[in-house]
Symmetry: C2
Subunit: 254 residues, 2 copies
């Protein structure tokens, strides 16, 4: 009987009890709200990971990824980048609002640091074990945090833009992992080359994985399935990239 | 007492009992001799991996790597490329003899296929589960096997040259993993770009990992420790690359 009960309850025992809560925060007067996720059965401080969304803003996708990470034992925060009620309604608005940050890297860093601050104020988080990941625009954001010498152990960019308009970067302490679609027309070979040159000059600890047959947004199921559009979900590459990120995070925060 | 004995013998039980034997083979009359390695406790056919050495020829390094792979459960064969007694005595000779193969890709393929043939004739090997790996020159060789449509599930190049002088490659069935030093002067950015273009055209399943602060021969402890020479061992990148290879092989042969 005892064993029967154990078998019946085993799935519940094995599944992390991840809870999520929305947390309000601010940056220079802009009201933001992101999603904190953690396993509430764990009492000791845990490594923290901030998750930056694609250019459409905080979304079920980015919150879902942050939740998946929390199931691995991290305390995660899905960042809001544009402010409550400000998510763009369409791609044109997304391009406009994200460009504002792309062209103003100090603002991008401040907005990103505000999100990181939520983890930095949480007693659930081991403050020596912080990392950031991001998707598309969010990948660019997470790299920008590293360029700004944020106190991160690691940064992962999924199909993020790699350009660095702010020259003379500060010291890059975070280890860098770039997960790149080998055929991404928005992150062309020349941009990759310049990024590698930047990393060399900064003497950063960097790794770049290029996935074949893979274009922009390859981890995003909503990105469609037609690579000729330059944007498409690729399940194989998405799985490889997620596994790569897991191995990387294990090696930099634990 | 029973438990004490178990504890005493546990290390022996956990360690794979890898045995090695030298196997003679031929290609077009050239007498070759490589090292077969396997866990002789395993009776069922196992996936097979052929290991191609750097340009100095079959060596304690390449035999050691093949043995490490055998400890993971594969049947491995450390290939001989130049023939018994023909290993070059110095770098100058190595350049000459390896160039002969680099400039004659059909010969390179034939020599490589002869090594694969040893695994193909072994009853210990599951013939549907073959892969090839190689280091430096051997990385080039393993890629050339894939280009020649060898019956491989996967190919891994460690800091191999990526050039493809034989145009119009056949269909590439093997999945490709290139582990590349991001600062390797012998595999410059332009060669990487051309390789990616080749893979795109061939619609191969390819992945390329570039490691920062890493030059040629980065997995080879004998390569020294001065990256300014363009050739140097890098322990961090060597470990990352070996782990990457393990994950890859698990996903393509098992």
């Amino acid at each position: 009987m005892k064993y029967l009960l154990m078998i019946l309850f085993l799935p519940a025992l094995l599944q992390a009890k991840v809870v999520t809560e929305m947390v309000a925060y601010e940056q220079d007067g802009v009201k933001l709200e992101g999603q904190l996720a953690y396993d509430d059965a764990v009492k000791a401080p845990r490594p923290g990971v901030v998750v930056f969304s694609e250019w459409m803003g905080i979304s079920p996708f980015s919150k879902g990824k942050a939740r998946e990470l929390a199931e691995l034992g991290y305390v995660t925060f899905a960042a809001d980048f544009y402010g409550v009620g400000n998510n763009p309604k369409d791609v044109k608005s997304a391009m406009e609002i994200s460009s504002k940050f792309k062209q103003n890297r100090p603002l991008m860093r401040q907005r990103a640091l505000a999100a990181l601050g939520v983890l930095q104020r949480s007693p659930r988080v081991d403050q020596s074990q912080l990392a950031a990941i991001g998707f598309c625009f969010g990948g660019t954001v997470s790299l920008e945090l590293a360029r700004g010498s944020a106190p991160l152990k690691g940064v992962v960019s999924f199909h993020g833009g790699l350009e660095a308009p702010l020259k003379a970067p500060g010291q890059i302490n975070a280890k860098i992992l770039v997960l790149h679609g080998g055929d991404d027309p928005y992150v062309p070979d020349e941009m990759v080359r310049q990024f590698q040159e930047e990393m060399r000059t900064a003497k950063a600890d960097w790794q770049l994985v290029a996935y074949g047959n893979t274009v922009h947004s390859f981890t995003v199921p909503d990105a469609g399935s037609d690579p000729t559009k330059g944007v498409a979900y690729n399940e194989v590459s998405a799985k490889r990239a997620w596994a790569q990120m897991k191995t990387f995070l294990k090696s930099v925060i634990e």
